[in-house]
Symmetry: C2
Subunit: 347 residues, 2 copies
Amino acid sequence: MPTISDVARHAGVSVSTVSYALSGSRPISAETRERVLASMKLLGYHPNAMARSLATRRSRVIAMIYPEVDRGLGGTGGEFVRASAERARELGYQLVLWPFRAEEARQVRNLVRQGTADGVLVMEVLLDDERIDVLEEAGIPYTMIGRTRDVTSRHSVDIDFEATVEATIEHLVGLGHRRIAFVNHSRESLEAGYGPTVRVAAAFDRVMSERGLRPLARTCSDSPLDGRAVMGDLLAADPHLTAVVTMNELATFGVFAELQRRGLAIPADVSVMGIVSSPGVGTLSNPQLTTMHSPGAELGRLAVDRLLTQLDDSSRPVPNLLIPCVFEPGLSVGPARTEPDDAPQRP
Amino acid sequence: MPTISDVARHAGVSVSTVSYALSGSRPISAETRERVLASMKLLGYHPNAMARSLATRRSRVIAMIYPEVDRGLGGTGGEFVRASAERARELGYQLVLWPFRAEEARQVRNLVRQGTADGVLVMEVLLDDERIDVLEEAGIPYTMIGRTRDVTSRHSVDIDFEATVEATIEHLVGLGHRRIAFVNHSRESLEAGYGPTVRVAAAFDRVMSERGLRPLARTCSDSPLDGRAVMGDLLAADPHLTAVVTMNELATFGVFAELQRRGLAIPADVSVMGIVSSPGVGTLSNPQLTTMHSPGAELGRLAVDRLLTQLDDSSRPVPNLLIPCVFEPGLSVGPARTEPDDAPQRP
DNA sequence: CTGTTAGCGCATTCAA
DNA sequence: TTGAATGCGCTAACAG
């Protein structure tokens, strides 16, 4: 591996000239620049990243803390990592993976102190998340995907769950649905304070109540089996429901199975709409699932952009971002069936 | 951020003493070691990774080249990345992501020359893959997940496709199946020389032929829609087939749908077995798919172990590894149905 | 426009 | 058992 001094010697200039020829941060005559560049090419020179980082005190590395790339069947996690890595590379940064869960905040602090990363991306943030406290304390720039409970003065990009739920309910209500049930993620994730679980649960309650509708909701573990059970439970709670919203891809398969087992046609009898789902998952169901899919790749890119903006100018405040899910048409949602029972309940 | 000299000053020793107290590569009196360690704790000292790397000429970083974390719905890619990152961390290494496709071999070379990584992991290797040539040339330790065409003198861990196909066919033949069809990945991936596609196609032909059975195989794009079409095509080619092996998760959904549409019961009329599938994907089908699932996590760990073994001692040769898929029982495979047509064909 | 040089924070050789 | 000094490869003053 040739070093900068090899190049300097070969080109007959000083090391600083070589350095400046590379960075352009000081004028160089066209003639010497050519000579330097030629020598670099000839010797196959590439600046050593470590030495540069040490001198600059900038590693051009961003770390991504991710507890679960392979949660469920989702491409979402992977999609997110992928998009971030790609965007980072476009901007001359590398992405390193730090597989830490919320309990491992101390390890995060240790790594941060090693100075390997200029900034940190955090996936799967909990409402109360020590990792974020650690990053705040350490004074290292970060951007979370997701949000802690208190999001003011915290740096984040996230799915706009409120807008997503509103759009979903509005779509269904527009088709005449009034008895709408919701299948959430597991109770454990709710209790652990997993953002999507908590926020969508709250948004569903609010949006339904505001429209004078009954917010029938259930948590459900991420499995087709439990999806069936929960669907049965929901039908017991309201035999006349006409639509089910699911934020649980694996459970959705069970929801389909249970409806079909009972001879309820989708969407003629019951409409099913998946939200916050990974792109393409809709095509796996029969009939194809209508979804609001997560803007995973977009969030990944935006998170990197946001983080690097902070890095470039830590003084200027950067706004947080909320991106709604995107409607992806399918064949599992249709007009509500009308029957006598559908009339307003008597008091 | 305190530096090593801060610690030295605080402890009243020289920097080298601090350094040796940390590395243990030279005897230190218990007393001073205590003092040094105490100072480190007190100051919150953590050795700067960049400086250490520069001095050591070891970055303790391994790079992972991965073109598609989110191929299909598979957890396999993500699982692999995750397992590797975790294993790397256990061993004191960091994993960086290099999202390069096979065509971008030049970029790989540039990054390698920057010296950021001590070694490289390569996913989704093609039969002819320039990235591997680049790594060989650069003389940097690497391990591929997958194999190039010529695997002698190349470093790899991979799925044992031969063993997987043999186990699969043996299982089916044991249940009386003789007319077995195979649904592969897309023709494009076959032509691009994507390892699993090519190797399983060849293995299926060989294993079937050796048993005197007709190797009826089709490529199929990764979608339920094409899965349906191909299933129809296969039934046209052999109306009496009793088993279908699929290595295409999305297509498998279409295979199910098409069989069901034609009133063919699974597994009473036709057995379906998914191979090289991501763990858990079986539960999404109805009836639950019987699979041979990829040992993704295991491969991820082994790849890291193998790579680090090379790093520690580049002289000693490290053997390549082949890990077969693991049988995961489901409800989609049963005894072959017996009918008159099932007798040997007349000449 | 270009050269010289002092660090960046640590590992390690040479002395003691 | 410990300290002093050199260098890893590069950037960025400082000096011309």
